[in-house]
Structures are given as C-alpha cells and as structure tokens.
Assembly symmetry: C2
DNA sequence: CGGACATTTGATGAGAATCAAAGCTGGTGG
DNA sequence: CCACCAGCTTTGATTCTCATCAAATGTCCG
C-alpha cells in the first residue's frame, strides 16, 4: 500500500470516478481502490487472456490498448489519458480481451470489479455512473466506426487530434498546445492507415498552417479548418 | 398493454435478459417491460436526439442502428436480431445518439432504463448481466475496429456472414442456411465499402464455391475457407 | 403491370498502401 | 558529457485495392 493518495487529494477527482460519489461515501470507494507502483514506458498493465479482476483509472501518463488477431496483427483500440477508465471490455468474458501498455511512465488506480459491483448496489449514483462510462465508450466506438468507414485519411488524423485536444481541455490543460503520448505508428494503426500516410498528413497540415508539429509537440493553429475539413465543395472553389 | 406475452412464455428467454434473473424474480422484470406493437419495415424505433428513456430487446424481425454525421452521411453501426439488446449508447447522454430502424417487420420489448437501474439495485445478477451486455458491445466494437482497420474487403464480408451465422445458431436456427435481413447497401455501409464491392465479393465467393447466394438467401458451403480467408500464400499459388 | 429500388457487371481512376531509403531523436553506456 | 545505435519519422517512387461512374438487369410491391 505504498503510494497512498486518497481520491480526496487527487486532482482528477472531478473527472474520474469520485465524480459520481457523494463526499460522505467517498471513503467507501477509496477503500477498495489500489494504487499501484508506476509503470515504465512499454510495461503492460494487463494482457489479453489475463484473468479479469479489475478495471483501471489512469492517474498519470498514458496507455494504449490493443488486440491481436489470429494472424498476429496488432490493432490499437484506444488511448487512455489521466482520469479515463480502461479494462471494461473484459467484464463479459472473465478474462481481458485486449492488452494495455504504458506509452510513457504512468500510474493507475486499480479498482477490483466485484467490489465495485457490490458498492454499486449500495450507491445508486455509482452504478449509474458506471453505466454511463460504458455507454460513453460505446458511443465513442460508434463515432470511430463512422470515422473508419466513411472518412478520408486527413479527416481521421484531424479527428484524433481534436479528440486529444478536447480531452486535454477536460483536464484543465491547454487545448491548443500539447504533446502526443503515442508514436506515429500507434496513430496510424489506431486509425487504420500506414505510418507514411500519417506523416505526410502532418506535413500537409503544417504547410497549410493548420498545425505546428515539432516531433510529438502539437500546436493547433486553425481549429476551424481542422474541424470542418476540406469537404465543403463551396470552400474548395474559393481556394 | 396489447400484445402481452410474458418473459416466461418467450422462446428467447434463455438468451435474453431473463437469463440473468432467477425464476422467482422474473415477474419483477416482467412487470417493467412494455411490449409494443409491431414495427413495419422502415419504421423507426427511436431517432438520435429523441429523449433516452429505454433500451430495447428484439423479439422478432431485425433492426439496424445508424448515426448521421455533420455532413449528412449515414453510417450503419449495428444489426440487431431477436434476443439482442439495443439502445445502450444513449445512457450517457440522456438522449439517443443513434437511430434505430426496422429492416423488416419487427417486434421489440421496451425496458425503461431507470426502472431497470432500480431493479438492478435489488437483483445483483441483473446488474451484473447488464454490465456484461455493455461490455460485450464494447468487445464487439474492438473486433470491428480491427476488421475496418486492418482487413481486406473480402475478410470483412466473410466476417459479417460468420457473425450472422453464429447469432443464428445461438437462437437455435441453422448456422449454414439463413436469410440476410439487410440490403447490400446496409452491408456495404456497415463494413465501410461500396455496394458494388459487396456484390462483387458475393459473386467471387460463389464462384469459389464457398457460398451459395440467392438474393438474400445465404448458404455457407465452405466455412473453413470463409474463416481462414485467402491469406495463406501457399493456397494462392495452387489456384 | 409498372415503377422504384436493389443488385450485378464492366470500365476507369484516385487515394492510400507498399517499397525503398534517407534523416532524425532520444535514451544508454562508456 | 558526449557518441552511438535502435527505433522513429520523413520523403519519394511505384503499385494495388477499392471507390466511382455508367448502365443493364432483376425483384418486390402496390
């Protein structure tokens, strides 16, 4: 029980699980949470086929999840930043179905799921919040489905950048200047494209002055264009 | 309260929500469920931006869900067959985020969500089952992510056929001969490809004797090949 | 029977993957 | 503290899968 920071002291509590729990009951939640030692870049938090016991909230750093197909291909399925919860895809199978790997030094809070279920029986708002969390994950997946099914490579990259931007803002950080925790490979894989294409798109965005890119440092210069993208036929004529 | 069939009498109960509820408590679940009048092909069960009140279990027929992007493009996000639950993506937003439309005459059971939450407080196995249902949806989305991100058009079509086959089997129907409830357009849209490509792939599968296709009637002739797909380089040489 | 829509087939083209190779970076150890 | 190396990133050339365009055919339903 080394790194004992209670939810009370955690700066993420307004956007993390405590959000759903009245101050009077926060201790109950706090008691079931384990704070692990930091993960180093490349360390696995869990692997597919590990028994499923817990979900995890990111406290610092960043992780990715990925699945591996029968023929050995990896598919990055998500990026997780501080305040976000991962591991929920294992609930239905008693074992994890994806792998979770630290993209950089990271700390997580472990939340044993059966205890969380018990606690949810006593705290309706916690049950509700957890349903919402999972629902949110499903909703995001629907949007991703649209992105992968219907959108161009440029749209996909823009969309990921805007998502990261919004999530930074949610944590009270700058939404215009931030650092990508993941490699171009991870971005490409997540978005279903080749690394080279991601790289070229960063270059193109930069030439158009929509973005300033220095390695993994990103500055968004023209959010409107990045949102709208170039699909508006009227727009194209005026350029 | 017209079409009153209780869960007790429903042939789907072994694969639907009642699966999670002890016989003694089934009445409680039964009482909160509304059985609506049948939907005709093309009718909407709900639309994005409708208030979210309920989730729905399919009793007969089939539905699709879809989202519409800012620029008006539709993306089919799922197909729902008897015994399956839809609408869970609306939990987190208080309104639905997708649209649900009947692909053919269909009946559904409406399950008011707040009552389901209350009941879940009393029946732990129901809470657990619902977590599992949502987790399952997330897991399926991860697999779809892989499909859209990494797999060829042929793989995608094969994979959808196998999924429908498995879901038919789960309902006690034939897993080799079944009818597609959706159009080629819906298949193409769901899988992120053009109608013409879907059509060509059906033709190709048929020429290889992996499949017999008559309109929407499907017969799977060579399941192994359909699963394995054509990634085996040795195989390609011999053809 | 007719018409709208669904499906199939063919020809062409575009976007992005792949192949190839040259910088760049950051972490490690001397 | 700096040099080195593996892995990351960029850029260019070529290829290929699949989208798009066009049009014929089929099918279901009123």
């Amino acid at each position: 029980m080394s790194h004992h920071v209670s939810c009370n002291d955690c700066s993420l509590s307004p956007i993390c699980l405590p959000l759903a729990v009245a101050p009077a009951q926060l201790d109950q939640l706090d008691r079931i949470i384990h704070r692990g030692r930091p993960l180093k870049r490349g360390d696995h938090l869990f692997r597919a086929a590990d028994g499923f016991d817990s979900v995890y909230a990111v406290r610092s750093g960043a992780l990715k999840t990925y699945v591996v197909s029968d023929d050995g291909e990896e598919q990055v399925t998500g990026f997780y930043l501080p305040g976000e919860v991962l591991g929920m895809d294992g609930i239905s199978t008693a074992h994890h179905v994806s792998n979770a790997k630290a993209l950089e030094t990271a700390t997580v809070c472990e939340i044993p799921f059966s205890q969380l279920e018990t606690l949810s029986q006593q705290i309706p708002s916690l049950q509700h919040h957890f349903f919402r969390l999972m629902s949110n994950e499903i909703r995001a997946d629907r949007e991703l489905h649209m992105l992968l099914g219907k959108k161009s490579a440029e749209d996909r990259v823009a969309s990921l950048l805007l998502s990261l931007s919004a999530r930074n803002q949610r944590r009270g950080l700058s939404d215009n200047i931030f650092r990508l925790p993941m490699s171009r490979y991870d971005i490409a894989n997540y978005l279903g494209m080749a690394v080279e294409t991601v790289s070229r798109i960063f270059t193109r965005f930069q030439q158009q002055n929509w973005l300033r890119v220095t390695g993994r440092e990103i500055e968004i210069l023209d959010r409107a264009r990045l949102c709208g993208q170039n699909h508006d036929p009227a727009l194209e004529l005026t350029q």
